[in-house]
Every structure is written in structure tokens, then in C-alpha cells.
């Protein structure tokens, strides 16, 4: 069965938006918990969440002050913020609406319900009172949709582009989360060495990786081992290596995969060579910057190769 480039494009973006909504919810959830744990005065600011998402410019269009409510409104309810939960969910739904034919019937129903839920609840979940339940619902519903697709989709092109979209978005978000850890701690003059482990632990939590970390590495949460673990652990579904391997696996059966695979392999090599334990925070930050540039390149190549191929 052939797959239209346009349909592949929409499936890929549906997956990216669903993953983005889930990851932003996870991150926001973990960060809210973290802030509650850290003694007043030394907690890192809310602007970090905005910088994780590279959304400073979009933020500045609507808000001036980086206080909790503004930032949360921006992340949860703002319908102009391309990285926000409301926008991601809406975009995911638009992409499913036009690809219903190739997806299991329930997917549309559940994505539509997720959309209706978000529309009804986003605005009133900005404050701490309802925030937890809202974010929990977003994560749970995204996971259900994902699980449904994984258990019913035929392993054909549709499945491949969905998986690539998920993995690429997830790798992107995971590195952003690490970058934040490093970023928050880069400001050495803030004297919060005591809260370092708290920050790293909450970041692990946002990746659903705390339990695995404890079992694999141990109960002590230290910056270097967290970075190493989240980057390299091949069995952790949210590790960068896992995502890159997953992308590679799905690209191999596609026609014209040479260019895309070249970037994936180059990125995997760079990742292997990066030594978290000896790298300075500054080096880590630069590595992540470079990594995200590679992900963008990969996304562009995927788009050129399969979504808008030259008409010859």
C-alpha cells in the first residue's frame, strides 16, 4: 500500500505534537514539584521553563514579567505559543483530522477528546490548585493514544513516520531538559550546591527515569551520572541513544534513506564520543546546542526526502 507524502508529513507532525504536549506536561509537572521542594529564596526562576523551550521571543510578545502564573499560562493555555500544550494538542488534532483514513478509528476519537479536555480545562489549570490534575491528564491521555497506536497500527509506512516523529521530538526534549539542569547550575554564584541533587532528581522524574536510574546506577543522584545515563542508556525509552536507535531502525526500510541515515549515524558517533564525566558544564551546554542543530538538520532532510520530494 502506497503512502502519500502529504499523509506521511501529517502523521509525522501529529506524533511530534503529541510527544511535545506530553513532554511539556512532564517537564512542567516535575518543575512545579521541584520549586516546592527548594527553600524560598534559592529556587531557580520560572523563566528557565521558557528558555528550555527556546520560546523567549514568543514569550516576550505576550508577557513581560517571568512570574509563575505568566509562565504557566504561556505553557499551558496560550494558543499562540507553538511549544505550549494547548497549541500542540490542537495541532495534533488537525493532523489527525486529515489522516483518519490511515489510523485506527479510536485514535481520532481519543485525540478529539484530548483536544476537548484541553480546551475546557487549560485556562483554569494555570494555578497550582488544578495544575497537577491537568498535567497528569495530559500525560496519561497522550500515553493512552500512543499505546493504542503501538498496539494496533500495522507496521508499515504510517507506523514508521509516527515513530520517527515521536523519537525525534523526544530526543530533542530530553536534551533540553539536561540543558536546563546544566543551565540552572551554571550560575555558580547562586550557592545552591545543596539543591543540585534535587534538581537532577526532578529532571529524572520528568523523564520517567528515576526508578530505572536507582536500579541501574544507584540511589545517589549526581550530575555526571545523570547526564551519562540519560544520554547513553540504550534500554531507557527516553534516553537520547534509545531515540536515535529507534529513528535509525525505522528509516532503514524506507527508500532514499541515505542522507537521513548519514545524519543519524554522525549524531550517534558524536554522542558516543561525548564524555559526560569529564566535560565541563560549558562543554555540555555547547554539545547540546550542536546536538539540537543536528536534529533540526535531520528533520529538514526527512521533510525534503519524503514529504516534499522534487517532482521528477
Amino acid at each position: 500500500m502506497s503512502m502519500l507524502s502529504r499523509v506521511a508529513d501529517r502523521l509525522y507532525w501529529m506524533a511530534r505534537y503529541l510527544e511535545r504536549a506530553e513532554d511539556t506536561a512532564r517537564l512542567t509537572q516535575a518543575y512545579t514539584h521541584l520549586v516546592m521542594d527548594i527553600p524560598g529564596g534559592s529556587e531557580p526562576g520560572w523563566e528557565i521553563l521558557v528558555s528550555i523551550l527556546d520560546a523567549e521571543a514568543a514569550y516576550a510578545e505576550h508577557f513581560r514579567v517571568h512570574n509563575e502564573l505568566n509562565v504557566l499560562k504561556f505553557l499551558i493555555a496560550d494558543t499562540d505559543n507553538p511549544g505550549g500544550i494547548s497549541t500542540s494538542v490542537r495541532n495534533a488534532r488537525e493532523n489527525v483530522r486529515t489522516t483518519r483514513d490511515v489510523l485506527p478509528g479510536e485514535v481520532w476519537e481519543h485525540v478529539n477528546e484530548l483536544y476537548l479536555y484541553t480546551r475546557e480545562n487549560a485556562e483554569k489549570s494555570v494555578g497550582r490548585r488544578n495544575r497537577h490534575e491537568f498535567l497528569h491528564q495530559i500525560v496519561a491521555r497522550c500515553q493512552m493514544i500512543n499505546g493504542m497506536m503501538m498496539s494496533t497500527l500495522c507496521r508499515d509506512h504510517a507506523y514508521r513516520f509516527i515513530k520517527v516523529g515521536h523519537m525525534l521530538e523526544r530526543a530533542d526534549m530530553t536534551t533540553r531538559v539536561i540543558d536546563v539542569g546544566a543551565g540552572a547550575l551554571l550560575g555558580v554564584d547562586r550557592h545552591h550546591t545543596a539543591v543540585d541533587p534535587l534538581i537532577w532528581a526532578s529532571l529524572l522524574q520528568s523523564l520517567s527515569a528515576m526508578g530505572t536510574y536507582r536500579r541501574t546506577i544507584g540511589p545517589l543522584v549526581e550530575a555526571e551520572s545523570v547526564v551519562e545515563f540519560v544520554f547513553q542508556e540504550p534500554s531507557l525509552p527516553r534516553s537520547v541513544r534509545f531515540c536515535l536507535n529507534g529513528i535509525r531502525q525505522e528509516l532503514v526500510p524506507l527508500h532514499n534513506h541515505r542522507e537521513a541515515l548519514k545524519v543519524v549515524d554522525r549524531t550517534r558517533r558524536k554522542l558516543s564520543r561525548f564524555k559526560a564525566d569529564t566535560a565541563s558544564r560549558e562543554q555540555l551546554h555547547r554539545f547540546i546546542d550542536g546536538f539540537q542543530v543536528e536534529l533540526n538538520t535531520l528533520s529538514e532532510i526527512i521533510s525534503q526526502t519524503w514529504f516534499s520530494p522534487p517532482q521528477e
Binding site: 502519500l4 502529504r6 524506507l254 516534499s308
Partner: protein
């Protein structure tokens, strides 16, 4: 009898589809009416609620465009089916097939020898000056001489119960998916009726459509590549486009998915590279089909597709230019066409039509605006129509001026008394007016759907059945009068 039926009467002013003039059910509808009249009132409501739920679950919707917004609405459906006896239908069906053959001969003639014009059966300027005549199509002769492969013909039933053709939709007729879904819903909510009735099935339409389209393929392949071309999600019939694509296992494509290569073949862009398309079932108008040939600003179409079609490398259904026969002025001449091309008498009646371009007709129309229905020659969807007896004085005066300004653009017909059928409104059963749109498939052979889409004007006394203007629909049964 439950109380929702108590006040139902056949007043004799209209033909009622289910109830005879005496008040009892017609023979073919007897079991249906008896069952519904014996259902307790709350059971009727429960069946309707079940139908509404089914419509929501199945995602049957249509889109209307108002106040700058697209709204996705649940499909309005009345649970009481309309019943037609198989022997009555057989005659209608023959008439529809005859009409489709004549119309296709006409289109083929107009784009080639134009014999019918040379023989003076109808005036050349009526056809050639019409916006529906596409000079770009001249000289083409598609396979089997078939142009309008899918036709939706609107029928109404006058006071005497006789069927009349109201118009032929030869461009991109829609509604067939609702015909199929209506049957699905009825099977769910009135299952007991299917035990006692022998109702002609409709659900093989997608496979019939597939066969019709596949027969047009320029390449001899076991499974030709068929693409359903939609303008996109914002089109009011997108649901149907997607439904038919799924039903045929065909690709649902938009203009930018297709391109014409140097070899003048049409390809679709897939992740495995370009794949050649054999047949395009297009659901966009001629004007938007090919910016090279028609409207240059169209972003819905495929540049060069007309070249590919003329080179015989792709089939397009309906063929571009088919609309030339879908014109309310040309309509008046269809009986003559049937006699001219087929040497047969028309088996289906047409409605007496006054052409405002003819001086005598125009005088009559202007003098009788209060009795006539005036229609623009060229609109669909029930827009721009004036129903004389229901219109205000100002509205009639306005149409009088429009006609004098542009007589070619208007026709008028006597007001028909559209038939009625019992319709469940709130908690009573009341008569509502309806029409019927059967679908005719035409390639090597001609095939007519058993029944079609019955549209019903849900507003009391209204004659406007279009879903964009408050219309609903009913399941339509063609039943064998057995036992």
C-alpha cells in the same frame, strides 16, 4: 396507535408516500406503519436517540459555512423510512438510465460533431455561450463516449404520485455516502423491520463505483491506481470524499499531491517516490481542476492535468466539461435529446420549463411570478431560488428586474406540490415535503442505485430540502410487494 400518530392526516393536497388518502397505510408501507404506530411514544423517542448516538459514533457529519466559520454538524436524520414499491421503482430506474445515456450522447456530440445543433434540435447559442461549455474539451472522446460517469438526478413526486425529474447534477453530485449511512443507521434502530421486508440493498455502491472507475483506466492492470481528488477538509462534502476513498480502497488526494510529468502522465507523491495515477475521481469543479486550462489562481487543482487527460494518459470522472448538460436551460431540451439520440420516448417526465430568454416565455413568467418557481440557470444547493407563492412582493419585483436584465440566466417552472411523508418532529409525527436523489453510474453499462438519498424539508410547509438550509434525510426503501 400511539399518540404521536393521532393527528396525522393525508389531506389530499399532496401525495403522501406512506399514508393513503383514506388515512390507512399504503400497501407497501403497511408493516412499517403498523409497527411504528404500535410502538409506545417513549420507544419512538428511544429509537431516535439511538439513531442520534449512532450518527455521532460513526462520525457522520457535514460542514456548513456561515458567518465566516466552518461548522461540523451532525447529519440530520429522520428515523421513519420512505418506502417505494419495487415495480414503481423499476420504471423510474429505466427512465433514469435512459436519461443518462442520452445526456452522455449529448455531451459527446457537443464536444465533437455538434450534430444536434446542426439539426436545429436546440439553438447553438444556448449551449455554446453557456459558461458550462468548456472549449478546452472540444475534440475529446473519452472511452465508451462516457462523460458524466456519476450523475445525481433530483426527482420529485407531484400530487398524482408521478415522478418528475427536477434536475440532473452532472458535475460533482454529492450525497451518496449519506444514502449508505442512512441504511446503516436504520438497520441499527429498526432491526425488526428487516425480517419481514425484502428491501433492496444499497451497500454495494462503493464497489459499483470502483468498477465504473476502474473500467476507465488507460492502463490494463488488475488494480488500477484510483485517486479521489478532494478540495480538502474544509469542503462541505469532505466526509463523503473520505468515505468513498475508504470504501474503494483508493487514495484520498489533494491537488498538491499530484503532478504531471514530462511524459504527460499524472503521478502522486508517495514516500516511495512518484506513483502513476490511472483514474482521478475528482470532487472539485472544472474551474479549479487545472490552472493551466481554467482558473489560473486555483490552488486546488493540478497544473497540466488537462494535457494528460487529452493525451489519454489519465481518466477523469466526471470528465471535464460534463457540466454543459447540467444547465437548467439545457434541461428543458432533454426530452428532445432522448428522442433525437435514442429514438425513444422519454420514460420519465420533466417539469414544464419556461425559458426567460424566449420572449413569449418571459412575458408569461413576468406576468405569473406569484405562481412560478424562478431559478438561476446555473446555481446549485438551492441558492438564488424564488418560490413565487411564498415570496414577498418585494422579492418578486426583485426577480422581475433580474430576469429582464439577464434573461438567459433564468428559467421558471410551475410550483410542484412536492410529496410528503410522515416525519418524526419533537414528539409528533407530521407530514414534511421531500425529494429523492438517485445516483446513476455510467461507463460501458449504466446502473442506477435502488432508491437514493431522500431529502426532507424539516421546516413545516417548506419546500427547501438542502442540508445547508435546514433539510434532513430519510432512509429510502425499494421493497418487493410480496405476500
Amino acid at each position: 396507535m400511539n399518540k404521536s400518530w393521532k393527528s396525522y392526516k393525508n389531506t389530499g393536497d399532496f401525495f403522501d408516500e406512506l399514508i393513503a388518502p383514506g388515512g390507512g397505510p399504503r400497501v407497501v408501507a403497511r408493516r412499517l406503519v403498523n409497527l411504528l404506530q404500535e410502538l409506545p411514544g417513549e420507544e419512538m423517542a428511544a429509537r431516535r436517540a439511538a439513531a442520534e448516538l449512532a450518527i455521532r459514533d460513526m462520525g457522520i457529519s457535514f460542514t456548513i459555512y456561515t458567518e465566516g466559520k466552518n461548522i461540523d454538524r451532525a447529519w440530520p436524520f429522520d428515523i421513519i423510512p420512505r418506502v417505494i414499491a419495487a415495480k414503481d421503482w423499476a420504471a423510474v430506474s429505466r427512465g433514469l438510465a435512459q436519461r443518462s445515456r442520452a445526456l452522455n450522447r449529448f455531451i459527446d456530440d457537443i464536444y465533437n460533431k455538434q450534430k444536434i445543433l446542426a439539426d436545429g434540435i436546440l439553438p447553438a447559442d444556448i449551449v455554446l455561450d453557456s459558461g458550462n461549455y468548456k472549449p478546452q474539451c472540444a475534440g475529446m472522446s473519452p472511452r465508451y463516449g462516457a462523460w458524466a460517469h456519476i450523475c445525481g438526478t433530483d426527482l420529485v413526486r407531484d400530487k398524482d404520485g408521478k415522478f418528475y425529474v427536477l434536475e440532473d447534477n452532472l458535475r460533482v453530485p454529492s450525497g451518496v455516502s449519506y444514502m449508505l449511512e442512512n441504511r446503516e443507521i436504520t438497520k441499527r434502530v429498526l432491526p425488526e423491520l428487516f425480517e419481514n421486508y425484502s428491501i433492496q440493498p444499497v451497500d454495494d455502491y462503493p464497489s459499483r463505483l470502483y468498477k465504473t472507475l476502474a473500467s476507465l483506466s488507460p492502463r490494463d492492470r488488475r488494480r488500477p491506481c484510483i485517486a479521489v481528488l478532494t478540495p480538502g477538509i474544509f469542503n462541505s462534502a469532505y466526509f463523503e470524499h473520505s468515505f468513498l476513498a475508504r470504501g474503494m480502497g483508493a487514495e484520498l488526494v489533494e491537488g498538491p499531491d499530484l503532478f504531471v510529468d514530462d511524459d504527460e502522465c499524472v503521478y502522486m507523491l508517495t514516500v516511495d517516490g512518484p506513483e502513476r495515477v490511472d483514474v482521478i475521481y475528482r470532487r472539485i469543479d472544472d474551474d479549479f481542476l487545472d490552472p493551466e486550462a481554467f482558473r489560473k489562481d486555483s490552488v486546488l487543482g493540478i497544473p497540466g492535468v488537462m494535457r494528460a487527460w487529452k493525451a489519454g494518459n489519465v481518466a477523469i470522472a466526471n470528465a471535464p466539461g460534463s457540466g454543459v448538460a447540467d444547465d437548467k436551460v439545457v434541461y428543458a431540451f432533454v426530452p428532445d435529446m432522448i428522442r433525437y439520440y435514442l429514438k425513444e420516448e422519454p420514460a420519465l417526465a420533466s417539469v414544464k420549463t419556461y425559458l426567460c430568454m424566449k420572449e413569449k416565455d418571459r412575458e408569461y413568467v413576468l406576468a405569473n411570478l406569484d405562481k412560478l418557481v424562478v431559478k438561476p440557470a446555473n446555481e446549485s444547493g438551492g441558492y438564488g431560488i424564488m418560490v413565487g407563492p411564498h415570496a414577498t412582493r418585494a422579492k418578486r419585483a426583485e426577480f422581475g428586474r433580474l430576469i429582464e436584465k439577464n434573461p438567459r440566466n433564468y428559467i421558471a417552472q410551475p410550483t410542484l406540490s412536492l410529496s410528503t411523508a410522515p416525519t418524526y418532529i419533537d414528539d409528533t409525527v407530521e407530514p414534511r415535503h421531500l425529494d429523492l436523489r438517485p445516483f446513476i453510474l455510467h461507463s460501458k453499462e449504466t446502473w442506477v442505485t435502488p432508491g437514493g438519498l431522500t431529502r426532507v424539508a424539516l421546516v413545516k410547509g417548506s419546500l427547501v430540502v438542502n442540508s445547508s438550509q435546514g433539510g434532513g434525510s430519510k432512509d429510502t426503501w425499494i421493497v418487493e410487494a410480496s405476500k
